[in-house]
Symmetry: C2
Subunit: 414 residues, 2 copies
């Protein structure tokens, strides 16, 4: 990627959407985090090093040698039917009752979010997101030009009492949807409680608002009990988004949307315009891996690794982060969300961290208005325990140094 173009002879030609796109900070950071001497707590990459490669290549050999006429050809826009059946079965692991006819397979769940933005959002439409929210959702929603209504979350998920108040104050204007990540939130790591889910369903019913339930990490619970999905409670008001990226691996780009039929139909049509169909080869590969049952062993291994890394990060944070910092303690997923003293600015601090060979994502990336300046997202799924210990240690030093600087200027506690 070249540096920002200053003179652009084509600038009169661009659509309004182009003015609404920002390159995500995560993306810009990826290039830095890719430098081998930097310990990256910034990414959102799952660990793929434990996959059963020889079993996978056997599955693939069978697909290519016996199934090539289908695997190498164009597929249905809706997706490979047998994979839909496998996804229905995968969803049942979280007690979701789904039917193939309601499932559209997408090119990763990012495409699902993008298609939803395209069928629902016109410029200036109101949509509700959590603060903080998934940065990929912001990237998907922004080009459509919505007004974001950001509702804060806490350890129990979205603060539904604030949501209710906000919706009431709209007096008549109805948001196009409420976007939530209820399990092991990205970036916050928190899980929406039973009580909040009930309240959210109640609000959605009374205010007649759709919910987008984005659940990439639900099956990655490594401690505690799961909470009933929102879609089970009120299927006619929920568009459910899933992905295989975290449960198996991302390189095949398989996501899906479970939606009421009229919405499903619109999504199929816009997907046809977006990329015709997702890769049959990848879909058949995913299907074979799910059918084989090998994914369960792989998932168990992932949960074991992630739990150990999360525990290690929690321990390191306690040891190395300065007083006045706090962090969430997730029961699953990939991320911990840390809050520093209010006067600190994690975006400004990032170059210092990178100088010290450690990276994270600044909190501002996760808010439509770029607030959350004293927060940061830390990933524990990709780095090893050793890297986590060393990375958090380096980061603790950077924060302390920054605090010392502020103190010397008379800001912050003595």
């Amino acid at each position: 990627m070249p540096s920002e173009i200053v003179f652009d002879p084509y600038k009169d030609l661009y659509s309004k959407s182009v003015g609404l796109i920002r390159s995500s900070e995560i993306r810009d950071l990826m290039s830095v985090a890719g430098r081998s001497d930097v310990i990256s707590l910034a990414g959102g990459l799952p660990d793929v090093t434990g996959v059963p490669t020889s079993e996978l290549s056997s599955l693939m050999t069978r697909i290519i040698e016996d199934g090539f006429a289908e695997a190498l050809q164009y597929g249905d826009t809706e997706g490979f039917y047998n994979l839909k059946t496998q996804l229905v079965s995968l969803m049942s692991e979280e007690n979701i009752k789904a039917e193939e006819e309601h499932v559209l397979i997408t090119t990763g769940s990012q495409q699902a979010l993008d298609l939803l933005a395209r069928i629902f959002i016109d410029p200036n439409d109101i949509i509700v997101v959590e603060g903080p929210t998934y940065v990929g959702a912001l990237t998907a929603f922004r080009p459509a030009g919505p007004r974001f209504l950001t509702v804060p979350l806490d350890d129990e998920g979205i603060r539904t009492e604030i949501l209710e108040e906000e919706l009431r104050s709209l007096t008549g204007a109805r948001p196009k949807f409420i976007y939530v990540v209820p399990n092991f939130h990205n970036p916050a790591g928190v899980t929406m409680s039973e009580e909040r889910r009930k309240h959210l369903v109640d609000i959605a019913t009374r205010f007649e608002v759709l919910i987008i339930e984005d659940n990439p990490y639900g099956l990655l619970r490594f401690e505690g009990d799961s909470v009933e999905p929102i879609v089970n409670r009120i299927p006619e008001r929920v568009v459910y988004v899933g992905t295989l990226s975290k449960v198996i691996f991302p390189g095949i780009r398989v996501g899906w949307v479970l939606a009421p039929l009229p919405i499903h139909e619109k999504l199929v049509k816009i997907k046809q315009s977006a990329d015709l169909c997702s890769s049959n080869l990848n879909q058949m590969f995913a299907c074979a891996f799910l059918e084989s049952g090998l994914w369960k062993k792989n998932l168990d291994e992932l949960k074991k690794r992630y739990k150990a890394r999360k525990d290690s990060m929690i321990e390191a944070l306690g040891q190395y982060f300065p007083e006045g910092s706090s962090w969430t303690n997730p029961s699953g997923g990939l991320f911990i969300w840390a809050t520093l003293e209010e006067y600190l600015d994690t975006a400004k601090m990032l170059p210092l961290a990178i100088e010290q060979k450690v990276a994270y994502v600044p909190g501002s990336a996760f808010y439509p208005d770029y607030s959350g300046k004293n927060r940061m997202r830390l990933n524990f799924s990709y780095p090893t325990v050793e890297q986590i210990q060393e990375g958090v240690k380096r980061l603790g030093k950077v924060i302390r140094r920054e605090m010392d600087l502020y103190r010397s200027l008379g800001i912050g506690k003595k």
Copy 2:
């Protein structure tokens, strides 16, 4: 896909784009064409039955066993770099001088067209297309709400003298781009002549308009001499779109865009919002197949098969189609475009054809205003020579019967 939903409780929620989407007739036909007793001349499927499956599965085994850490992971939004290098080399087969930095890999070329629509088209913007034009481009462009300026083509491609006149009559309004398929046009089968290309370049320069050169079939020339690509003549005004779907196979969904840097940069950002990245696994697979050189043998075999099938179709058309019909005689690609007596309506005739177990795509699908009612697209890449003979024979009967009916009503020649 369920039948059209009549009562839709969500209809107040949809964006304006949804009203602009039509399910493509091709898509609706796919389900019919999939019935095994119908000879389908309707599809646009390449023949994948000659691919070297055991070599392909060896390549894949190596990727999964040795390259899993990259193949199964998220990739760069821009695409897998080594594949870009292979695509640069593939483009050089058509004398295109490209650099990796200008290439964005997309999820099929459909995504390329979609991303271009999104960065260039606001509602009511003017875009120029050929009449007829590629139906997938219409599908990609329509949700953005452009006004289509349709310029007819003939055996030498787009009629540039009409284009020039049309642009002059816009007095100041500038189209966002001119979309052309210069080689073995879909659906028309024709190739833009040297003279027309020169005139098009001259027009683009004088009127300061961008050209989108969509070239899925360029390497599928089975007779005659190739004509220099447009992008070679005026790279700063051309966005070039390529795909591996027809040159190797579609199941991996690999397309690309070669664009001037400022446009490339916008495309990368909107792709990030659309699907983050294309499948690394598929990209590495395509890369390995291109690197191996096996693709050339495969392509030679495809050209041999397609030429035999095209020749067979031309012969069958001469034998079975009634007087007053005409058709193009392509030197490559996948399609023949037939024109029937003016009073015939191929969309209305289609159910009769399907009753006789043969399918085609009605001409109206390829025009923004659904004109071209007496035309049809016939595919010769997928059916066998036997199916082509039998299919065209059946179709000839259907057309004659329809003509007899009209004649009995006093319409058409006696």
